[in-house]
């Protein structure tokens, strides 16, 4: 296990070195991402100029939700998301996956973490800043337990998202292009930016129990606000673990298929 930790550190270093070869490009990307966040914030502000609640959520609470979503999204995109959604199909197509699977480490490790977006740490700062600002507006009114649950549910969200991204990426073992599906998924998870109260009845149920996107930012935020029952907490954890198990099994099947039907 220590080896994987060392490997991860090394991959971070190598990724950073490779990225620094394209410095101007990177700064623009960070700028673009920050602008996007700012503009969306302005959007929310504009909405809240007309109303003072979205369902049960006040502006400050929506701010927390928004910041939480971006935090999760940020961690996901600097680690596994691009590697699996875009990197893996490319590796399969080019045949370069071969050189990864004969390394004496778990192929899933390289497939998920070979390229870490190190430079994006800079856009982590406004993200974190927004979170702190949101908490400040809420008066830091949470207990230690709630904070721990928040952290736990964020980790949980990442496990959930990893599983979904992995399942979609594994499909590319059978088809040549799964990027369309990855894009749909991207758009769908953006639901996490908004409080689920915007949906009623059927769709609310759907996003909690059928395609639990509520796990991403809604539940952690609720936990921090003290509004999450332990029932939901266990449900959230169980969901992710179950999905992760399914995803890894599916990945193994995909890899086996690759070994059997390639040439």
């Amino acid at each position: 296990m220590g080896r994987y930790a060392r490997l991860f550190t090394l991959l971070c270093k190598l990724s950073l070195m490779r990225q620094m070869a394209y410095r101007p490009h990177f700064f623009l990307m960070v700028f673009g991402k920050v602008i996007r966040m700012v503009l969306l914030l302005l959007f929310f502000q504009a909405v809240f100029l007309k109303v003072d609640r979205l369902g049960q959520w006040t502006f400050d609470q929506v701010l927390l939700l928004f910041a939480t979503f971006h935090l999760v999204d940020y961690i996901m995109s600097i680690t596994f998301q691009r590697n699996l959604s875009y990197g893996l199909p490319a590796l399969i197509q080019s045949g370069n996956l071969d050189s990864r699977i004969i390394l004496p480490i778990h192929p899933l490790f390289m497939a998920s973490l070979e390229n870490i977006d190190m430079m994006d740490f800079i856009s982590f700062i406004p993200c974190l800043g927004l979170l702190i600002y949101a908490l400040h507006r809420l008066g830091f009114a949470f207990t230690w337990l709630q904070a721990v649950m928040y952290g736990l549910l964020i980790a949980n969200a990442l496990v959930f998202l990893f599983a979904v991204v992995l399942i979609i990426a594994t499909i590319s073992f059978w088809t040549t292009r799964s990027t369309g599906l990855a894009r749909v998924f991207d758009d769908l998870t953006r639901v996490g930016r908004y409080p689920l109260d915007i949906f009623e009845g059927f769709w609310k149920f759907f996003f909690i129990y059928v395609l639990p996107l509520a796990l991403i930012s809604q539940m952690p935020s609720q936990a921090l606000l003290g509004a999450l029952s332990s029932g939901f907490l266990f449900y959230a954890l169980a969901c992710s673990v179950l999905l992760a198990v399914i995803a890894v099994r599916f990945w193994r099947t995909g890899l086996k298929n690759y070994s059997s039907t390639s040439s």
Partner: protein, 336 residues
Amino acid sequence: MPAPFTTSAEPLTVSARNLTKTYWFHEKEPGLSGSLKALFRGRKKWVQAVQGIDLDLHAGELVGFIGPNGAGKTTTLKMLSGILCPNAGTIDVLGHVPHRREKAFLKKIAFVAGQRNRLYWDLPAEEYFQFCQVVYEIPHDRYQAAKKRLVEMADIGDILTVPQRKLSAGQRKRCELVAALLHDPRVIFLDEPTNALDLVNARKLREFIRAKARDGRHGILLTSHNMVDIGEVCDRLVIIHGGRIVFNGDLAALRQRFLPVKQIKILFDGPWERDELAQLGDLTRADIHEAVLEVETGATARVAALICSRFSIRDITIMEAPLERIIESIYARKGR
């Protein structure tokens, strides 16, 4: 099917029996109607890439694995290294079943693909070597020693800190090879190692491979199109054609079996009679002043003497039949 032929009494490092690999793909008719049809009713076409072959490799051997494009060379190599799973047959490499890709197994082998580079484009080789050290868990002093030795052998000492994209193809290839050998693999698979290299760089690479093979502990299996690779580097030759092995032995046996001829090149002093020369052997080339005659190996001396006595010649050279001719004739024979 020729029985496995070994030049060495060393232990078997690779042993494959009855290896078979088939795969299928969808056949598509050309044009728009073809696309539409393919959408609903794909016609599967089966290809037998490798058909029940046997292969052995011993420690200290350098075996060349050749065949025309599509003969199944790369597929076989991928099966031996564990990338692909055979449809039938057994493989034993150093006591492991390759396609299980056990960690212990992977640490003992190396696979260097012909056209694809592992090393990162923007980074110097040095960085990737460090990566290899961590991945293969190479102890520090062994890593340093291996690196020093390999870098010297490959002559890349002064380009270790240069990003790959600034290097020539030959230099990159040598870096790839060093990276692949850092963990001291006992079995090395090389897929077309001198592909796309110019003469000088190909020669350097060949020397490197030969030096590696000389220490007797490694088994090296390489595929190539290049006759010089095969002629100069390999101890033993395995020829695969249409998914089957058609020859397995050394060069002398190859010549003996398939084309036991020698070539006599004659430079004439003046005009000469074509028919007269053609009586003595197989006239493969005839110019105004020059001719090449192919003659059975045993009869060379006699024919040469006859030529010298019957014709007015300026020079006569006796050569081995070039390897290409032999190999071509083998490829052409398929249909049996």
